[in-house]
């Protein structure tokens, strides 16, 4: 009879994720060439991070025109797509990130507001 190895493995996984700094936002922005939309997304993202995540974020920009094989790993379909790699679980925000509020909700920097938003 084989012993169950599931548990130690999953524990190891837990340990591995535990080692990462939970406060750091590891972000990856997928674009396809330097289009106006991807430039806008990047600008919006940087502004937002400086404002809300200053000192605890990293942004990696992946141009799929240069590295098409990378689209598969993060299940990229729409462009631009912002992926929050860490903290887990993975979150995605697609679009040009023009709406700061929604982007923050998407990244779970801010919990979605309950009830009607101001001005609605």
């Amino acid at each position: 009879m084989t012993r169950k190895k599931v548990k130690p493995e999953s524990l190891a996984e837990v340990a591995a994720t535990g080692t990462a700094n939970p406060d750091i936002f590891e972000l990856r922005l997928y674009v396809a060439g330097k289009t106006a939309r991807s430039v806008a997304a990047f600008e919006n993202l940087r502004r937002l991070c400086e404002e809300h995540l200053a000192g605890k974020y990293s942004i990696e920009v992946v141009d799929l025109l240069v590295h098409p094989q990378l689209a598969k790993g993060d299940q990229i379909v729409a462009i631009p797509t912002l992926v929050r790699k860490l903290p887990q679980p993975i979150r995605k925000v697609i679009g040009d990130l023009s709406n700061v509020e929604r982007t923050l909700v998407g990244l779970q920097v801010r919990a979605p507001r309950h009830g009607p938003e101001p001005g609605e």
Binding site: A32, R37, L64, Q69, Q75, R91, D96
Partner: protein, 487 residues
């Protein structure tokens, strides 16, 4: 591989086509799908869309030197590989040889937030990368409409899908896009609006607890195509579509004669037996020796070193072999030498058209010179009489077209000369043998008469016979006539 008769002439010089490699489908479409264009395959859940699409890719990659990309929106590559393994498709091997790429695209709505403008360039890049990595000529998108569940901006989605189809055309790949059938529309999200070259609808219907899969080419721009619904099978060899409708009366009539396997029956048929390629009906009540006659016929074919295919709808193979051994026929030797093949199943196991499709497939595979269907009656009871007639006509036309001599047995009830189904069949039959019980000196005796036999002089006697351990023997005492009467 030799193909069976094509049900419509294929004209050269029309639209360039890409053979699918799927049995029967290329016949119906006159050569395959429009090359370099997308084809829409739609149908409800479980109708075989994914399988058809996958077989199109696998056949292309393995047999037609056209590598392919399968973009799966619903199943992972592992699941897909597992699902089609039972059909003999080894996706891992094809992938290892760079003949096939399976890309699983998953859009999880719950982890996505949408803000502002976006496009589906990521999808295009993935697809383009997959195509370029193996030089793919074929693409499958299964099921693209899943995107409508994952992304909320329908406006963007629609314009991007339109762009995607144009892009596929520009790429010059032959593509299949699958879609779920909508309520009263071909597809749930109106994809037929974008894919206008070729649309195929699959259908899985259950009537009176019998299921039948059907395929129909709804639209095929710039080419002629069969417009009927064609039944199709999914079995261990993948999909086979039954291309036969009615072939019409075009078959060549042969002058060759073949033995019924019983010398005195041959004697009653002008001394030389049946015409090759003719259709023979043996009808009679229970226990009149129909199966014995059929077995002799199959045995005679094997003796001539011709292959015989025996469809048994009442007895299993081993029971048939055992029973026929009791009248001196050892069918097992022929079965061992692969000259005789049995196919035993209950007629109620499937719908009529599925049976026809199975018959068709076996005939194409095994290439028999004679076919026995024993009995055809139970079979015809399985559908409405119109269905039954059309199915029988298609079967007969198909067998005749392939110059196969067919013998059907048919059960008539006691005291009934012909059954409804028989009178209907009559016009399709070339030679009709009637077996009956005759009472002679208060003993039951079997009698055989030739009701009709087209194109030959035949006996009008009723010959008495008995089943002995040396086969079906004519009984001298059974001769009909005044001499038999007690003096």
């Amino acid at each position: 591989m030799t193909r069976p008769e094509i049900d419509r002439p294929h004209r050269e010089g029309s639209l360039p086509k890409a053979a699918t490699g799927i049995r029967g489908l290329d016949e119906i479409t006159g050569g395959g799908l429009p090359r370099g264009r997308p084809t829409l395959v739609c149908g409800s859940a479980g109708c075989g869309k994914t399988l058809l699409a996958m077989e199109f890719l696998v056949r292309g990659a393995a047999e037609l030197d056209e590598p392919g990309v399968f973009m799966a929106f619903e199943e992972t590559a592992e699941e897909l590989a597992q699902n089609v393994r039972s059909l003999g498709f080894d996706l891992d091997d094809l992938a290892a040889r760079n003949r096939l790429v399976v890309d699983y695209v998953h859009v999880e709505r719950s982890e996505i937030e949408e803000t502002g403008e976006y496009d589906l360039e990521g999808l295009f890049i993935r697809l383009g990368h997959a195509i370029d990595s193996i030089g793919a000529r074929r693409v499958v998108l299964d099921t693209l409409e899943t995107l409508f569940g994952g992304l909320s901006n329908v406006g963007i989605l629609r314009s991007e899908l339109r762009r995607l189809f144009r892009w596929l055309k520009d790429k010059g790949v032959t593509a299949i896009i699958t879609a779920e059938r909508g309520d009263g529309t071909l597809t749930r999200h109106g994809l037929e609006e974008y894919v206008s070259d070729c649309v195929i609808v699959l259908d899985h219907r259950v009537t009176e607890q019998l299921s039948t899969r059907r395929l129909r080419v709804v639209k095929y721009r710039g080419t002629t195509h069969g417009t009927n619904e064609y039944p199709f099978l999914i079995d261990e060899d993948g999909i086979s579509v039954l291309p036969v409708t009615s072939l019409g009366l075009r078959h060549q009539a042969s002058d060759e004669r073949i033995s019924s396997g019983i010398p005195w029956v041959d004697a009653m048929l002008g001394g030389r037996g049946f015409y090759r390629g003719s259709t023979v009906l043996v009808s009679g009540g229970a226990g009149t020796g129909k199966t014995s006659l059929a077995a002799h016929f199959a045995d005679a074919a094997c003796r001539r070193q011709e292959r015989a295919l025996y469809f048994a709808f009442e007895e299993s193979e081993s029971q048939l072999i055992r029973n026929m051994r009791s009248i001196g026929l050892d069918l097992s030797t022929w079965a061992d030498r692969a000259l005789l093949r049995f196919y035993a199943t209950r007629p109620s196991a499937y719908g009529l058209e599925m049976h026809l499709a199975t018959l068709h497939k076996l005939v194409v595979d095994f290439k028999p010179r004679v076919v026995v269907v024993d009995p055809i009656t139970t079979f015809l009871g399985a559908g409405t009489s119109m269905q039954a007639e059309s199915m029988l006509m298609r079967l007969i036309d198909f067998l005749k077209g392939s110059q196969i001599t067919a013998l059907f047995t048919s059960l008539t009830h006691a005291g009934q000369f012909t059954e409804g189904s028989e009178s209907m069949v009559s016009s399709l039959i070339d030679t009709w043998l009637l077996l009956s019980d005759i009472e002679v000196e208060s003993r039951r005796q079997r009698g055989l008469q030739v009701l009709k036999s087209r194109g030959m002089a035949h006996s009008n006697q009723v010959r008495g016979f008995q089943l002995t351990d040396k086969g079906v023997q004519v009984r001298a005492a059974a001769r009909k006539g005044p001499a038999r009467r007690p003096r």
